[in-house]
Amino acid sequence: MKYVDEFRDAGIGRVLSGEILAAVEPGRHYKVMEVCGGHTHSIYKYGVDDLLPANVELVHGPGCPVCVIPMGRVDDGIALAHEPGAIFTCFGDMMRVPGSRGTLLEAKAEGADVRMVYSPLDALRIAKANPDRETIFFAIGFETTAPSTALTLMRAKAEGVKNFTVMCNHVTIVPPLRALLESPDLRLDGFIGPGHVSTVVGARPFAFIPAQYEKPCVIAGFEPLDILQAIHMILVQLAEGRCEVENQYTRVVPYEGNRKALEVMAEVFELRPHFEWRGLGFISQSGLKLSARYAELDAELRFSVPGVRVADPKACQCGEVLKGVIKPWECKVFGTACTPERPIGTCMVSSEGACAAYYNYGRFAREREVV
């Protein structure tokens, strides 16, 4: 298939692997963070890490929106799902994320009308098909899914749909990156930038990484050769003493991003003063809420939401995993009490979560190493 086959070519992969080996300085240890969960998933699916020299370590970032959702927000969602007569809609991954008292899937089993949708537009369609019931959409995601929610809200407003609301959990990528760079327990050499977030926001928002923290950032696509090439570009920058934002994913990402998408987001959303991230705590101006113009479509204003803050389970070390401080298999409950079938932490829920990626692809490789 076009755009896929040419970026999975094993021969080119081996050539790139050799170029990476030639670019590293023997004796120096490199830590490169892939910001987004899509990259984490690809790295373990295709074994990209097996093609890297031992002194190039990949650290998994906080770029999986399911993984960073705090338990309190899940509880709030479940409370909305139990509103009398309500239809609660969300993406499939969200249904299995544990709150403090169960998941949305369990709420469904208890009788709440929780429905999985592929897009916010599907949720709006459900609202229009059930005009006598309230339909709530649990919106989640970075700048990749936020434009979709924004367009659906604009459509709902334009069509005068009165029984549709959104519980907004959208987050933005730059504030957590800044928080990570400020974190004292993390030493990183460079970043693999998020490809599709950059399709929306462009390359400019990442300029602070080289400008203020003197680290390279290379925006990359999601096929194995994209990731290998981005790692090579980072290592070349380091070898040449440069640090800048480069775009490996030029076939999709324009430097300026998608201006229309940024406009619809600015129309519909405004920044929350702060938003809680699982494992990372409260981060200023990192979350989005509906703007005053769309207040009548805000589920948190139309319904009573408990809004209680819930601490993460003690056994769960998602925070350290999300910050790249520990590897998933170093967590006390990884693969034992916490599995994709019965997750304790969010990183094990989403297929893009670092723990799920390790469990599904990496775990057996590690066992081979031990043998």
């Binding site: 298939m1 076009k2 755009y3 896929v4 040419e6 970026f7 080119i12 987004c36 969960g37 899509g38 990259h39 998933h41 699916k45 770029g63 999986c64 929106p65 399911v66 993984c67 993406f91 499939g92 991954d93 969200m94 999985m116 592929y118 897009s119 916010p120 537009l121 599907d122 989640i140 995601g141 970075f142 990749t144 899914t145 434009p147 979709s148 929610t149 367009l151 659906t152 998020p194 490809g195 599709h196 977030v197 399709t199 929306v200 999601f222 050769l225 090439q229 030029t250 076939r251 999709v252 998608n258 229309k260 998408a261 619809v264 994709p340 989403s350 297929s351 893009e352 799920a356 599904n360």
Partner: protein, 75 residues
């Protein structure tokens, strides 16, 4: 592209789907698109330029974020 597929996350931290345009409803700003597996979905096309049947779009959560131009398919 299924929510039940453990190896694909619709919430998409950053994983879009390349979909082929099957038909365009310009009045409603929607296009019927087909995923590589054949599943069809209505897609918002307000954020990309004019599209025509056969075009390839990068779709996230039911919204096209970019048109994929075959002539720019560099490595």
């Amino acid at each position: 592209m299924s929510c039940a597929d453990p190896f694909h996350c619709v919430t998409c931290a950053d994983e879009g789907v390349a979909m082929r345009v099957v038909a365009v409803d310009e009045e409603r700003g929607l296009a019927l698109c087909a995923a590589p597996g054949g599943e069809r979905q209505s897609v918002e096309i307000a954020l990309v330029g004019p599209v025509a049947p056969g075009d390839l779009l990068l779709v996230h959560a039911g919204t096209a974020l970019a048109a994929l131009d075959p002539t720019e398919a560099g490595a």
